[in-house]
């Protein structure tokens, strides 16, 4: 089994890590390769949009899921922004149209 890797930036907005994990595993939106990897041949960035454990807030979580290394790097967790939600919906539509 692999491990999680929490970057300090994931805690910047003060969101409980348990809430981030919950939002990822119960994602209402999942978009692979939402952001570039910035590393040649590296794993891309996935976007997860899901609720906190108490279901009072929606979160946006960005993580690099490196299957080869069996690691999940979580580096961005914050309350869902309308602009992020709009971009996510646009990407879903674009990929449906591909």
């Amino acid at each position: 089994m692999g491990t999680t890797r929490w970057a300090e930036s994931a805690d910047k907005h003060g969101i409980d890590r348990a809430d981030a994990v919950h939002a990822m595993r119960n994602a209402r939106i999942l978009i692979e390769a939402f952001g570039p990897s910035r590393v040649e041949g590296g794993a891309p960035v996935n976007l997860y949009i899901g609720q906190t454990i108490d279901q009072t807030a929606m979160l946006e979580v960005l993580a690099v899921v490196d299957r080869a290394a069996q690691s999940v790097y979580i580096f961005h967790v914050m309350p869902l922004r309308p602009s992020m939600y709009a971009r996510a919906k646009a990407v879903i539509q674009e990929r449906k149209d591909q």
Binding site: V21, A27, Y73, F75, I92, K96
Partner: protein
């Protein structure tokens, strides 16, 4: 890497280089034009499909038990000493479930709280320390009082109340018998 795997909310530490790299990515992600490169491909799912795919991949890498434990820890512990709170799934008869829901609504509490109360009372009764006998004696006294009240003529005039008291007394005696013979 240590021999013991860290829990999912702690994880393996990042190197300084990795921290710098992800700090830069996070700053980029907070800009309003962050998004996929043109022509990017990959899953783009919504609703239950998104949850199923995310869960399958994360659980395969980190482990279902580890991730379950991580999200359970988000709730406050029910124990004074903290730590995980064991979970039990209970099946009830339909009428029992309805009665529980009604009672919980009447008390403005959650059904789970009433079940926890029930467990507390039962475990206290069943404890082999004399407390059970004290409670059993109190219940016996209560049942006797209910029967006495139900038998009073003026109580019988108020038929519904008297009948319900007699039924309650029988119910208490039945529960008592089960407790004593358990």
């Amino acid at each position: 890497m240590s021999d013991t795997k860290p829990d999912a909310l702690t994880g393996e530490p990042l190197s300084d280089e990795e921290e710098a790299f992800y700090a830069s990515l996070a700053a980029e992600a907070e800009s309003d034009d962050y998004g996929p490169e043109a022509g990017s491909t990959g899953l783009a799912l919504e609703g239950d499909e998104a949850a199923a795919a995310a869960r399958a991949e994360l659980d395969a890498i980190i482990g279902t038990d580890e991730l379950d434990a991580a999200t359970r820890r988000g709730r406050p512990s029910l124990s004074k000493a903290g730590g995980a709170s064991p979970r039990f799934q209970v099946r009830l008869a339909a009428d029992q479930g309805e009665a529980l829901a009604r009672r919980a609504a009447g008390e403005a509490r959650k059904p789970a709280e009433l079940l926890r109360d029930g467990a507390t009372v039962y475990l206290r009764l069943a404890a082999d320390d004399g407390a059970g006998q004290i409670v059993a004696a109190a219940l016996e006294e209560y049942a006797a009082r209910l029967e006495q009240e139900a038998a009073q003529p003026e109580r019988r005039a108020a038929a519904p109340s008297a009948r319900s008291r007699a039924a309650l007394a029988r119910s208490v005696r039945s529960d008592l018998a089960q407790l004593i013979h358990h």
